[in-house]
Symmetry: C2
Subunit: 156 residues, 2 copies
Amino acid sequence: MPDEDAPPAELNPGTVFEFFNEIGIIQQLSRAMFEARLPDGMIVQHFSVLNHLIRVADGRTPLELSRAFQVPKASLTNTLSGLEKRGFIEMRRHPTDGRSKQVWLTEEGRAFREEAIRLLVPDIMALSDKLNIDQLTRLTPQLAEIRKILDDNRSA
Amino acid sequence: MPDEDAPPAELNPGTVFEFFNEIGIIQQLSRAMFEARLPDGMIVQHFSVLNHLIRVADGRTPLELSRAFQVPKASLTNTLSGLEKRGFIEMRRHPTDGRSKQVWLTEEGRAFREEAIRLLVPDIMALSDKLNIDQLTRLTPQLAEIRKILDDNRSA
DNA sequence: ATGATATAGTTTGATATCGAACTTATTGGA
DNA sequence: TCCAATAAGTTCGATATCAAACTATATCAT
């Protein structure tokens, strides 16, 4: 059965829905691909945190991280405790705000991230044969733009 | 040894990471947005199944659905039991294969989906003011292409 | 026909997610 | 100063996810 009475072609909710549907499947597949290469019980979220601490700088607070990843702070508590248990990060008291903490990378954490990347590269290279990297490079900023709009919309 | 022909300069793994990172955040945000409008304990996966059964046709088997959504069949078992408990689907024996089952929509299921869409449309319309729908329309087939590559790569 | 193998779906158990309540610390106003 | 309101992080409980083992059925080779 087709949709309701023809709305203006571009405002069809199905268009938006299809877009998010593709996003969801890609996320599912890429997560599985990454996690297959990570050792033990490490999951993408663990790796993402290490990566973020390298890219931005360590010493971030849990709240900063939860905002960066758009997940509830309770989820971060869990992720960070996993990383701490493995000795990849250190939680220190915040120097000026007693309520807060800082997340610092350990040497083991840095080394693990490098090793993880080394393990991932072959997969990515194999994909690169098939993926159009130019296309990916063009898509990323467009996705970032959409992500920002969704994020603003959320808090609005 | 493989040839050492100059690799394209863009083969930086970071490019691919960034792409998947944006995908992940958009997925997170859009899921939260949809679920905020769904009643009770309904989650996106429930809605997606109803939607798929309408779009394709009901009478699909659980395995077909798990392939369509790229999730393990054990996850589908759980999702389907939630839908069945709410009376939105009926599980029937497969007419020719005793190992299998068929998933049929009930009237309640169809009605619920229509109602859910009605509740989602205002959000999507609000977004449409800010999102560039033409851009979205251009992006979707490109994402579908990437999704196919990832999917093939998975089973290969 | 018959046993071996493969397939559809469920169960189980372990972990991830995350809203809500809670604890502790900071801030701001009187 | 004091206390009410706010903020950072944790705990708790309920649910989702999913690999591995399991059950039941089908298919294939001999």
